[in-house]
Amino acid sequence: MFELLGIPPQALFGQVLLGLINGSFYAILSLGLAVIFGLLNIINFAHGAQYMMGAFVAWMCLNYFGINYWAALLLAPLIVGVFGVIIERVLIARLANLDHLYGLLLTFGLALIIQGLFRNQYGSSGLPYQIPPQLTGGQNLGFMFLPNYRAWVIAASLVVCLATWFLIEKTRLGAYLRAATENPTLTQAFGINVPLLVTLTYGFGVALAAFAGVLAAPIYSVNPNMGADLIIVVFAVVVIGGMGSILGAIITGFGLGLIEGLTKVFYPEAAATVIFIIMVLVLLVKPAGLFGRTT
C-alpha cells in the first residue's frame, strides 16, 4: 500500500468519490437553475425543495405502491415535473413582466411551504431508502473499493447532463429554446409558442432536480431538509460558473464537488466553506464567473 502525503489511499479515493457524487448533484441542479434562468429570468429558489420532493416521491412509490427504484427514477421526475408545470402556469406566469427579484421571493415562499408541509408529515429525522438490489456490493479496484451504487450515480448524472447539453445545443427544440432565450418576442413572431416553451422549460428544470433527488435518496436519507442547505451551495456554484454555458455548469459542478472532496481529506475544517471561499476568489478575479458572459 502506498501513501499520498500521509493520507491512506482508501480515504483519499473514498472522499474523491464522495466529492464526485456531490459534484454530480451540483452539476444537475445548477444545470436546471441555468436552463430555467435562461428562459424565465427567475432564480428558482424552490429547486432544493423540488430535489427533496424527487427523493420523497421515490420513497412514497416504494413504500405506498411497491414501485421499485428503476420505475421511480422515471416516475418521480415526471410527477415532480408536472407539479412544476402547474406551479409555473398558476403562479410564476403571473410575474412575467415584473422585476425578476419577485420570482426569487415567490419561489422562496414556495420552498418554505413545500419543506414545511413535508416536515409536518414526515418529521425531520429522515427516512431510509434501500439501494436497489442490482446495485448493492461493489468492485475492488486494487487501490480502493468502489461501491456499485456510487459508480452508477456518477455515470447516470454524467449521461443526464450530456443528454441535456445535446438536447439544448444540437436539436431543433433546443434551437427554439435558445432563440426564445435570446429574444422571446421575435421567436414568438416566427410562430413558436413561447409561453408553452417557458412552461415546459420550467417543468424540465424541476424534473432534473427531482431526478437528482431520486439518485440521492439511497445515499443520504430521505429528509425534508435535504435540499435547503444544498440549494445555497448550488447558488455559489452558479455564481462561480456563470449561467451562460451548459457545459460550463456541468464542468463547474463536478469540479467543485471534487475540490470539496479533496478539502475533506486535507483540511476537513474548511470542507463546508471551501465552495464559498472559491466563490469569493472568483468574484475578485473574474466577477462574471468562469464561463459567464460579462453583464
Partner: protein, 330 residues
C-alpha cells in the same frame, strides 16, 4: 470624490421637491405618534414582546434601506444581525463589558463584515447579488457552527448578563431595559429617515432607478452602493446586538438563512420602499409567530403562504397601500 461633491447640489434640490410641506408635517405627526406608542406600549403589552418587535423592526428598517432605497436585494442579512448578536453576547458575558459597549462592539463588527461582503457582492448585479449575499451569509453560518469556543455551537451563548448601563443603571428589570431599547430603536429610525431624505439618499434612489444614467451624470455608483450596504449592515448589526442583550441569548438561528428570509418577509408585508412599512411588517410577523408558536412547523408553511400572497397580490405591502390611498409617500 470632488466630482461627487460638486454634483450633490441638484440632488439636494430634488430632496426639497420630493418632500413637500404637507408630507413633512404628516411624517412629523407619525414620528410623534410612534414616540407616544413607544411610551405607552410597556404598560399595555408585555415589555419583552415589545422589545422583540422593536429589535426586528430595526432589523427590517435596515434591510429596507438597502432594498427599498438602494435597490439591492440582500438575502444574507442574517450574517450581520447574527454576527453582531454573537459579538455582543460574547463580550458582555466573557469580557464583562457593559451593555452599551457590547452593543457598540457588535455593531462595529457588523459594519466591518458589511464592508467586506458588500465590496464583494456589488461586483455582480440583480439576481447574482442576491445569491452572493446568501452564499456569504451561509459561510458565516458554517463559521459559527464550527467555532463553538466563540459561538457555543448548537447551544449558542446563553445566560448573557444584561449588566449595568454605563456601569450605573441595572438593566435586569424588563421595564428599565425597555427604555434603552426604545431609545436605540428611535435613534435608528431617525438615522434611517435622515439617510433616505439626504442628498446621499436621493442619489441612491437615482442609482436604483437608472444606474447607467446616474453614472453618466458623474456619480460613482459603486461607492454609493457600498456605502448604503455598509449602513444597512451596521444598523442590522445594531438590531442583532441589542437583541442578544434583551433575550440574553445569541444562537445559530440568528445567522441561519431562515432569518434572512424572515426580514425579507417583514419588509415585504409592511411595504417595500416605504419608510414606516418595515415597522408594521415586523409587528405583524412577530405577533404571528407568537400566536402560532404552538403550531411548530406550520409557522414555516404560513410564512411561505404569506410570501406567495404578498408577491402575487399585495406587492405594495400594508403601508404601501395606505400611502397610495392618501396619495402621500410614507
Amino acid at each position: 470624490m470632488a466630482n461627487v461633491a460638486s454634483t450633490d447640489a441638484p440632488a439636494a434640490g430634488l430632496a426639497v421637491i420630493e418632500i413637500d410641506h404637507g408630507t413633512a408635517r404628516l411624517h412629523r405627526m407619525i414620528f410623534i405618534g410612534i414616540a407616544i406608542a413607544l411610551a405607552v406600549a410597556p404598560f399595555i403589552a408585555y415589555p419583552v414582546f415589545v422589545m422583540k418587535v422593536l429589535c426586528f423592526a430595526l432589523f427590517a428598517l435596515a434591510f429596507n434601506l438597502l432594498l427599498g432605497y438602494g435597490g439591492l436585494l440582500s438575502f444574507g442579512h442574517a450574517a450581520y444581525f447574527g454576527m453582531a448578536s454573537y459579538v455582543s453576547a460574547y463580550t458582555a458575558k466573557n469580557w464583562g463589558l457593559t451593555p452599551e459597549l457590547a452593543i457598540l462592539l457588535g455593531t462595529c463588527v457588523a459594519a466591518l463584515l458589511g464592508a467586506l461582503f458588500g465590496a464583494l457582492a456589488i461586483r455582480r448585479q440583480g439576481i447574482y447579488f442576491a445569491m452572493i449575499t446568501l452564499a456569504l451569509a451561509q459561510m458565516v453560518f458554517f463559521f459559527s457552527l464550527q467555532t463553538p469556543r466563540f459561538t457555543g455551537g448548537e447551544d449558542g451563548i446563553q445566560a448573557v448578563p444584561r449588566g449595568k448601563l454605563f456601569g450605573l443603571i441595572n438593566l435586569a428589570d424588563d421595564r428599565t431595559l425597555y427604555w434603552v431599547v426604545a431609545i436605540i430603536f428611535m435613534a435608528g429610525l431617525l438615522a434611517i429617515y435622515r439617510i433616505i431624505h439626504s442628498p446621499f439618499g436621493q442619489v441612491c434612489k437615482a442609482i436604483r432607478d437608472n444606474e447607467p444614467r446616474a453614472i453618466s451624470l458623474g456619480y460613482r455608483a459603486n461607492q454609493y452602493k457600498l456605502t448604503v450596504f455598509v449602513l444597512s449592515a451596521t444598523l442590522a448589526g445594531l438590531a442583532g446586538a441589542t437583541k442578544a442583550i434583551v433575550f440574553q441569548l445569541a444562537s445559530l438561528t440568528d445567522v441561519y438563512w431562515s432569518m434572512s428570509g424572515e426580514v425579507v418577509l417583514m419588509t415585504l408585508v409592511g411595504g417595500l420602499g416605504t419608510v414606516f412599512g418595515p415597522i408594521v411588517g415586523a409587528l405583524v410577523i412577530v405577533s404571528m409567530q407568537n400566536y402560532l408558536a404552538s403550531l411548530g412547523a406550520w409557522v414555516t408553511v404560513v410564512q411561505g403562504v404569506i410570501f406567495v400572497i404578498c408577491v402575487l397580490l399585495f406587492r405594495e405591502g400594508i403601508v404601501g397601500v395606505i400611502a397610495k390611498w392618501i396619495k402621500k409617500p410614507l
